[in-house]
Every structure is written in structure tokens, then in C-alpha cells.
Point group: C2
Chain length 332, copies 2
């Protein structure tokens, strides 16, 4: 019997396992124009935390006692839709479950780019695309810029580091702990800051000096809070900030305290919030650039994999405790 | 004997009269290429507070025990420079004093735009230009936008209100007290919020409803703090914030607490800091538009005038206590 994770309680602050329940689901009959998909890979991403609140945002909140949604890669096992045959690999949003019956319009066949299918949940999917458009469009980063990226060992952050290096930028990444900082350097970062070892403001000042710069030209924000404040403190003239996520604030109802926000004026800083899905019309250029970087070895993936659908809430909670290096995935 | 206001102590928090001293000054001899100017109007502006701190910013700090600088309009009384004759009216930065000897390159003859000379310290000077470029360039405001401007009864704010109306926008202004709110409405604002009567967040929500909108498209920030936070809370999709000033923070060393900063992401908000002087190459378009609005009565000035150089510190301090409606000027 197919199963799906349901949200059974809205988390207050940091979610816990008791907010979720794995329950059997009834799938609709396979009508003409529909496909049956068996999922192979499920994605957990920080933005899902927002959908667990009963607050209207850019995506509607998850309903209580209903299956959740999220990115997934699956294989067609039965098709009544033209153009789809069993064995086709597809990417879709009916994640948090093992099986789905979907309209053909809700699934996308994986482009033939010579990569493993789970890449379409990572470097060729939401997280890689978020890094690509955030860095190159929202922040207008260009060759020679000094780029600071927070949570640089995470899925989005590790893509930002590698894209920035592929485009000739100087990169500073922050991560928690020496192992992750070593990973960030392995990705090509010119400097890595272990923010568990000292305050991020001091770490960033030292890293800026280490790369021979006077400030940062670009900040790619995955964290908010003290990281955003440190970036404001050390921003160079005309710095551009791509505001992608603020994982430090997702589980908090406290206001964010920014000591250096007034530098926005003196340094003519621009902060730009953005959402990956707004760039759907430009996916072609992303696939072209990213697949060529992957083929050339300039962008590599390191996934943190949990096995089995039962492990999914743990994988999700791990996003907030730093359990992942690179992309967090569930393999079914 | 010529006199100038000196900074004799760096203010901690809100400045006081004891931070300043009016002292006689020695003027240099009038060498060839120089002019002697007797000042007629002196300007006080909130940005001057920043120069009183010993912190490098976009303008260097005032030196202690030295005359301060600031915008001034004066009359040439003696000239050894080609192109200047006694009686010429000029605008320059040797304010905070009654008389100056300056290189001709440091003064600008007032363009013949049919306005009173002190307008070049206000709507045709720093404050009007700040409003113009901030609204139309930094915030990219356009016809039909719902524009929220804080400190709307101040020099910059009152110019923003009128420029926005001249360009067909819907305008909400905030000010302290009913008199100032009436002034903001007189300027053409569609709604005015008295933030001394209720929290700005509630006031802004009510004003947005009053103008029949769902949110604000543009925020022109003169205040920071709770005003910026309210603007974040009520920003519409793709809203653009021109960050001009944060007068609420100039005298404070506390971090700014922002409860709604995370909406930057969901609503794709852009914050852009800017400085008027960056737009020097585009002053022509500003003079053209602003003088035509002034001629048509679409932009009017209301000045708060203090008489005599002795009153200058009081005028300056009044900027932070809300003593001014419109532009604060000192008449000599």
C-alpha cells in the first residue's frame, strides 16, 4: 500500500518527529492522461519549514493531516499518457511519499544531460538553480568579485561556491566545524570560516584579509541573523546581497537584530530577495551552463543520503542541525 | 570678525548644545582665483550627525575644534576669480559660518530657474535631489505604484510626496502629530499616518486599506527601525525600498530589530541604499523636472526658519526632535 508523510501538527520553533506521521494513502484511478510513478529519490529542503506554518507565503501552507509535497525523482511504472512509457525517469513535486498517480503535466522527463537522476533534485534542480540565478542574476556577481556565501557546505551554498569559482570570482564560505570547512575549501573556496570557532564577524574580517580584499562585493545569504549582519559590516561599496534563505530565522519568532544595517546607505548596498521558480523561463541557460560545468568537473555534488522513506523526517530535521554536507536526499 | 561653529566634543547619542562652539575664524587672504562669500542661508541636514562620529563613512568625519561644513547659499562680496562678480549668488559647502574665502571651483552659481535662492538648499538642492533620485532611480518608482514615505513632513519626505504625486503615484506618508499629518495631506498624500497615535505597523495597514491597496510597492525610508519593519511587513510582491536615511538610528548604538526581514525572500523585495552625490552627472534632468514642477505649483516648499547664526545648533538638534516641517534653514 502506498504511503505518504502527513503533517499532523504545526511545529512551534524547531520541528520534531511528532509533527509528522507516515500513513497509507489511496491513489486515484489511472485515468487517461495520467501516469503512475514510483519514487526513487525524495528531497528535503529548508524552504519546506515555511510551508509547515499556517501563513500565506510564496507557496501555500501544507494542510494538516494531508500528504506533504516536495521535489522527487521517480520512474514511470504505468502510463495512460502520450509520450510517457514505463521506465521513463521524471522529476515532480509529489514527494514525501513512495508512489503517486499524476497528470502528465505535473511531471517532467529528465533531460538527457549525462548525469545521475538525483542530480535533478540538487545541482540540476532546485538547489543548483537557486545558486545559479541567485548569484548571477539577483546579486549580479561577476568575474573578480569577492563573494561571501553562508552555509557554504549546504546544498545551495556548495553550488554557489563552485559556480562562483567557475566564473572567476574570489570565494569565502562559512560552515560549522572543521570538517565542513575542509569540504568548502575542497570545493574551491579561497577561504573558509568555521563559525562555531569564533564569531562570524571576526571570522569574516579575517577571511577578507586572507584573500587580500578590503570588503565583500557579493553576499549570498542562506542564514540571516549574525551572518547577514557581518556581511553588512564588511560590505564594500556597491555590494549586492542575494537573499536566498535565512535558516537561522525559520524556527524563531524573535526579531532579527542587525547592528550594521545602516551601512546600506553609506556603501550603497543592495539587498535582493529572490525565488528560484521565478526563473522558470530561463531554465535553458541554467541547464546549459550547469551541465557543462558538471561535465568539466567544475561543479561536483556531494550528497548526504538517508535510506528509506521512514528516515525522511530525520533527514528534514537534520537540515536545521547541520547533519548534511551538500544536498540532503532520501533514497527509496 | 567672521565666525564659524566648531565641533568641540563628539556627541554620544543625541547631540547637545555643548558639543558645539561658535568661534571667530581667520580667513585666508583673497588670492587670485578666489572669492569672498557672505552667507545668506545655512542648511542643517540629518546626515551631518554621521560626520560628528569619528567613523569613516561616505564623507569624512568632522575634525574636533575645527569649523564644520554644510550646504550654504551666499553672495559674492569680493572676487578675484574670472566669471564671478560681487552680487552673484552661489551655493557651496562652507556652511556653519557667516563668511568664507573659497576657490572659485568650490562654489556654484545658482542656475536661473526663477526660484528663491534658499531653494538650492531644499527642493533644488540636497533634499529635493535626494527625493528625486531615490524615488525614481533607487526605488524605480513608476506611475500607479503605492509609495510609502516615512518622515513625510520633513525636507526629503515632503519632496518625495510631491514628486510621487506629480508622477501619478498613490502616496502614504507618516509623520508625528496631527498638524504634520495635515501638512502631508496638503502636499497631496492620499493617506497620512500619525505614528505618535498608534504603532506604525497598524497605521500603515490601515492606510494601505484606505487607499484600496493590498500592500506597498515602494518604500522611501528616512527613519529605519519600526518604520522599515512595518514596510517589510506590508510590502507587495517585487517591492522596492530606497534606503535614504535611518534617523531613528543615528543617535543610537542599539542594533535594529526587524521582525519582518524574512519577507524579503517571499515577496522578492529589493532594498537599495543610495547617496545623492552619486547622481551628480544627472543633475541636469533633476533641475529640468524639479523646476518645471515648481513652476507648475506641483512641488512647493515649506521651510522652518531659524534666524541668526547663534540659533544653528538648536536648528540642527530640532531635526531629531521633530521641530521642523519641511526644510530646516538658518537665515543670516
Amino acid at each position: 500500500m502506498p504511503k505518504a508523510w502527513h503533517l499532523v501538527r504545526r511545529p512551534q520553533g524547531l520541528p520534531s518527529g511528532e509533527d509528522f506521521a507516515l500513513r497509507p494513502i489511496d491513489l486515484p484511478p489511472l485515468e487517461p492522461g495520467m501516469v503512475r510513478v514510483r519514487n526513487l529519490w525524495l528531497s528535503v529542503d529548508p524552504y519546506m519549514r515555511g510551508r509547515m506554518n499556517d501563513v500565506k507565503s510564496y507557496v501555500p501552507p501544507f494542510a494538516l493531516d494531508a500528504p506533504m509535497e516536495g521535489g522527487a525523482v521517480g520512474e514511470i511504472v504505468e502510463s495512460r499518457a502520450e509520450g510517457f512509457v514505463p521506465g521513463d525517469r521524471v522529476v515532480h513535486m509529489a514527494g514525501w511519499r513512495d508512489e503517486a498517480v499524476l497528470a502528465a503535466g505535473a511531471v517532467n522527463k529528465l533531460p538527457e544531460l549525462g548525469v545521475e537522476p538525483q542530480a535533478f533534485l540538487g545541482n540540476l534542480g532546485l538547489t543548483g538553480g537557486t545558486a545559479y540565478f541567485g548569484l548571477l542574476d539577483a546579486a549580479q556577481a561577476k568575474q573578480g568579485d569577492v563573494v561571501f556565501v553562508s552555509a557554504a557546505a549546504g546544498a545551495v551554498g556548495s553550488a554557489v561556491v563552485q559556480i562562483a569559482k567557475a566564473r572567476g570570482m574570489i570565494v569565502i564560505g562559512s560552515a560549522r566545524g572543521e570538517d565542513k570547512c575542509a569540504f568548502v575549501r575542497d570545493l574551491g573556496a579561497d577561504a573558509a570560516i568555521d563559525y562555531s570557532a569564533r564569531p562570524i564577524l571576526k571570522g569574516l574580517a579575517a577571511a577578507v584579509a586572507e584573500v587580500g580584499a578590503k570588503g565583500i562585493d557579493v553576499y549570498f545569504d542562506n542564514v540571516g541573523g549574525d551572518h547577514l549582519d557581518a556581511a553588512l559590516a564588511l560590505a564594500a561599496r556597491d555590494a549586492r546581497f542575494a537573499i536566498c534563505g535565512m535558516i537561522g530565522g525559520y524556527n524563531s519568532s524573535e526579531p532579527m537584530a542587525l547592528r550594521y544595517i545602516m551601512r546600506v546607505i553609506a556603501m550603497r548596498i543592495r539587498l535582493q530577495g529572490f525565488i528560484y521558480t521565478d526563473y522558470a523561463p530561463r531554465l535553458g541557460e541554467f541547464y546549459r551552463d550547469m551541465s557543462s560545468w558538471i561535465a568539466a568537473g567544475q561543479v561536483q555534488s556531494r550528497d548526504t543520503i538517508f535510506d528509506g522513506i521512514e528516515a525522511m523526517p530525520d533527514a528534514f530535521l537534520g537540515l536545521f542541525t547541520g547533519a548534511n554536507t551538500g544536498k540532503m536526499l532520501i533514497r527509496l
